[in-house]
């Protein structure tokens, strides 16, 4: 090889350094993942070795499901786990269809699994999300209303084989309503008890700005064993955080390596990469419904125009030349302002009530006496205002839906003359 000995030595060290960087990066990645597999598994996966597959299936299962669902589903059979992984991946838009071919839980496809994992890593803050799932909470949190603000996935359309008695459905709805009310009562209880703990431990916290203990901290004082447990959990969380930092420093090497994995894949089966991306399928019925909605919208628009035109004409003739002179300017401005506000309100009521300034990071619940303004943090009053405006927004939507239902009922009642409708006792 050309070059002086010193140059070669430098290059060799560089090559050695580079050679060490990859295993270290993979090791860091493995330590940052919950139940991360050994770095050796990654290497075997590149060569599509069978022993890597089950481990990677389990890892993907753990990574793709939210934590609460995970704890109840750990005893699922590997075949079922694999199916869940595939459906979760495709619902997130994973483009490679090769994974779907592999039968559930077989020992094939470890390379494809590795590619799937990297795709997840590359596309979003996966490690941060996983870390926040297992975050150690020392303070008390706001109750779980945040879960309600997120838009939930559309409910699956269930086709039943035999007709279901309507009374059974009403029975089940009623049970749901009771559970809902009991949940609210439990939350109120939680708030009362939290408030008591905060009140009773006032002055116990070393940090003046906090002033009182949280439930976790009170527990620690009462039970030394739990404080040992907490310490261990904190230490393990620290280790994962450090691993993530290390991974961030060295991840470039990993991505370069993943390029080679992708190449290896495409070399072996070129047909796979040329497959079109799998798109979500709109059923024929869905398309038909879309057509219907479009037609209905057209019809509504025409109706509106037909109704508006004569009214506008009539108004014009009535008003005539009024409102044009300079003495009308203030009135006109006021009117314009009022109309703008009305339109704005209308628009807001039609838009889905999204959660505006929801706190991104979890906030610790702190009870403070008096009016001392806090420099940072979210005030309860502000939170209440946000929630109240959300509530008002949702109420408007509810009223609209209810009046739509009433109109529909009236239309149905009117269409069958001679039939008497007795509505159920109102709620």
């Amino acid at each position: 090889m050309p070059g002086a000995a010193g140059c070669t030595g430098r290059r060799r060290r560089r090559v050695e350094g580079a050679a060490k960087a990859l295993p270290e990066a993979i090791a860091a990645l493995s330590r940052s993942l919950p139940a991360g597999p050994s770095p050796e598994i990654f290497r075997r996966a590149k060569f599509d070795r069978p022993e890597a597959a089950p481990v990677l299936w389990q890892l993907l299962f753990r990574v793709l499901l939210p934590l609460e669902a995970n704890t109840t589903l750990t005893d699922l059979a590997p075949e079922t786990q694999a199916r869940v992984v595939k459906s979760a991946l495709s619902s997130q838009g994973y483009p490679r269809s090769a994974l779907i071919q592999f039968s559930e839980g077989s020992s094939q496809g470890s390379r494809e699994l590795l590619l799937a994992l990297s795709w997840l890593l590359a596309r979003g803050p996966l490690l941060e999300q996983l870390l926040s799932q297992t975050r150690v909470q020392l303070g008390d949190q706001l109750p779980q209303y945040e879960a309600l603000a997120r838009p939930d996935p559309p409910a699956p359309h269930v086709e039943t084989e035999s007709p279901v008695d309507l009374r059974l459905v009403e029975w089940l709805m009623g049970k749901l309503r009771f559970r809902w009310r009991r949940l609210i009562s439990s939350q109120q209880e939680q708030c009362t008890l939290l408030s008591k703990i905060h009140l009773y431990t006032h002055g116990c916290h070393s940090q003046q700005s906090l002033g009182h203990l949280s439930v976790a901290e009170t527990d620690m004082l009462r039970d030394p064993e739990s404080s040992q447990q907490l310490l261990r959990t904190l230490e393990s969380e620290n280790r994962r955080l450090e691993a993530v930092l290390e991974w961030r420093r060295g991840e470039l090497v990993f991505w370069q390596w993943m390029d080679t994995v992708l190449e290896a894949c495409s070399l072996e089966s070129p047909a796979v990469t040329s497959q079109p991306t799998v798109l979500p399928v709109i059923s024929d019925r869905g398309l038909g419904e879309l057509e219907l909605v479009k037609q209905e919208l057209h019809a509504l628009q025409e109706e509106l125009q037909e109704a508006a035109a004569p009214r506008r004409a009539a108004w014009e003739t009535q008003v005539g030349g009024l409102g044009q002179g300079p003495e009308w300017s203030t009135t006109r401005k006021a009117l314009r302002e009022a109309v703008k506000q009305e339109l704005g309100a209308l628009q807001r009521s039609w838009e889905p009530c999204s959660s505006p300034d929801q706190p991104q990071r979890p906030h610790r619940l702190v009870r403070s006496e008096g009016e001392s303004p806090r420099p940072k943090g979210l005030q309860a009053a502000e939170m209440i205002r946000t929630l109240s405006s959300q509530e008002a927004c949702l109420k408007k939507v509810l009223h609209q839906l209810q009046s739509q239902c009433q109109q529909e009922l009236a239309r149905l009642a009117g269409s069958l003359p001679g039939l008497i409708w007795i509505l159920a006792p109102g709620h």
């Binding site: 008695d165 009374r167 059974l168 009403e170 029975w171 089940l172 709805m173 009623g174 049970k175 309503r177 009771f178 559970r179 009310r181 009991r182 609210i184 009562s185 439990s186 109120q188 209880e189 009362t192 008890l193 008591k196 007795i422 159920a424 006792p425 109102g426 709620h427």
Partner: protein, 455 residues
């Protein structure tokens, strides 16, 4: 989780006192047939639900007393204080100087709005003293004046103000041969209003309780106190602590919520009846022994045959045969007496309760076709004995038990209404004939819904 009781009128207050007394006596009884620690847990659970602590240690009932005249309230307060074991809160009562003359409309349309703020404030104060509120008991008569009209009004206000809390009305169903001439009007107005604003109507029939006193307890001169004590016993046997279903041997925290979820989730079916067994005088108790098999067999037959009590059960009534009826004459007469249930809750208390076999209650023939026994039947139990009974069983049933009495009352009220008798007593306080018609419509619907449960 705590229950706040609102005692309304003479009836409500007298019964309320007996209920708290029964609960307290039972939770402090030494005949629980269980360990000391078990007893203490039982006591604590009952206490959290129905009483609260005050400074000098005497438990205070979580209750608000309401009446339009002071006599009964004062009697109730002093009876409780006299016992020295528990009492009512000092400022927990609301009363006026004059009565309401047994006029439902006056109670609903005049007393109600006039005193709404004071009464709701009292309730609010009591609620604030609960760490966690499960819901409300509202004890009232159905056919009287104050209790009924005001009770209907207050239940509506509770619905508005505490919409997430549960509400159960303990309703006293009047004697069939009652003295108040407009009692049927009052009854249908009360029931229809409560059906709209309450979650569950637990009905106590005076006739039934009277029979129990006469036949089972052998009481010669039956006083209201005797009736009320039987009633209190029945309620106690339902709401005293029982174990959670998960077998953890913890007492369930929210029996009211559990009961409602099991029995009354459907808005058209809210009427509940109570039966319990055994029910006898202390003298007879000394000479009796019971087995779970015997108790449950009798309780099941009481359910099927709509019997009010253990004595005189009609053993001829049987569930209709599944599948095709046999050839030949089928006795339609029998079918009409069979009581179809929507949902049942059986509560067992006492010795060897684990050995009790409730399979007889899981028979699908007992239930309506659209709800399977696994959803329709539930059981609570504890080995801690209740009151003085080594073994006792109670049944809370959502079934056709009350259809006949309801139908009778609606029929009688309709006959009076058809000739507009006494209507002016109501319309002069702002009520309208529309209100009566709405009530009739609603209750006819209820009767029809329950009637259509059959096989």
């Amino acid at each position: 989780m705590s229950i706040v009781t609102v005692q309304l009128g003479q009836c409500g207050n007298q019964i309320g006192f007996e209920v708290f007394d029964a609960l307290f006596r039972d939770s402090h009884s030494s005949q629980g047939l269980c360990s000391k620690r078990e007893n203490e847990t039982y006591q604590a659970s009952c206490k959290e639900r129905f009483f609260r602590e005050e400074e000098n240690g005497v438990p205070v009932a979580r209750a608000v007393l309401v009446d339009m005249e002071p006599k009964v309230i004062n009697q109730t307060l002093s009876k409780a204080a006299q016992s020295g074991r528990w009492k009512y809160g000092q400022h927990a009562c609301f009363c006026q100087r004059q009565g309401s003359g047994n006029n439902w409309a006056y109670g609903y349309a005049v007393h109600g709005p006039k005193h709404e703020e004071s009464i709701m404030n009292l309730i609010q104060k009591e609620v604030e003293k609960c760490d966690s509120l499960s819901g409300f008991f509202i004890v009232m008569s159905m056919a009287g004046g104050t209790g009924s009209g005001l009770g209907a009004f207050i239940t509506q206000k509770l619905q508005d103000q505490y919409s997430s809390s549960l509400k159960m009305n303990q309703i006293i169903w009047p004697y069939g041969t009652g003295e108040v001439i407009v009692q049927n009007y009052n009854s249908i107005l009360t029931l229809s209003h409560l059906y709209r604003s309450s979650d569950a109507l637990l009905i106590h029939e005076n006739d039934a309780v009277h029979k129990i006193c006469a036949k089972q307890m052998n009481i010669k001169q039956i006083s209201f106190r005797d009736l009320n004590q039987v009633l209190a016993h029945q309620l106690g046997s339902v709401f005293q602590p029982t174990y959670c279903e998960d077998g953890s041997l913890h007492y369930r925290r929210n029996p009211l919520g559990d009961l409602m979820e099991h029995l009354v989730p459907h808005p058209e079916f809210k009427m509940l009846g109570i039966r319990n067994i055994p029910q006898m005088s202390e003298n007879s108790l000394a000479y009796s022994t019971f087995t779970w098999a015997g108790l449950l067999k009798h309780l099941r037959q009481m359910l099927i045959s709509s019997a009010k009590m253990e004595e005189g059960i009609d053993w001829q009534v049987q569930p209709p045969p599944s599948g095709l009826p046999p050839l030949g004459k089928v006795s339609v007469h029998k079918d009409l007496h069979f009581n179809t249930s929507i949902a049942n809750l059986v509560i067992l208390r006492g010795k060897d309760v684990q050995s009790a076999d409730v399979e007889g209650f899981k028979d699908p023939a007992l239930y309506t076709s659209w709800l399977e026994p696994v959803h329709a039947f539930s059981m609570w139990k504890t080995q801690r004995a209740f009151d003085k009974y080594e073994k006792s069983a109670a049944l809370v049933s959502n079934s056709q038990l009350l259809v006949k009495p309801l139908d009778m009352i609606v029929g009688k009220a309709w006959n009076m209404f058809a000739s507009k008798a006494y209507i002016h007593q109501y319309t002069k306080f702002g009520m309208e004939e529309e209100d009566f018609l709405d009530s009739f419509t609603l209750l006819e619907q209820v009767v029809a819904s329950y009637g259509s449960l059959g096989p």
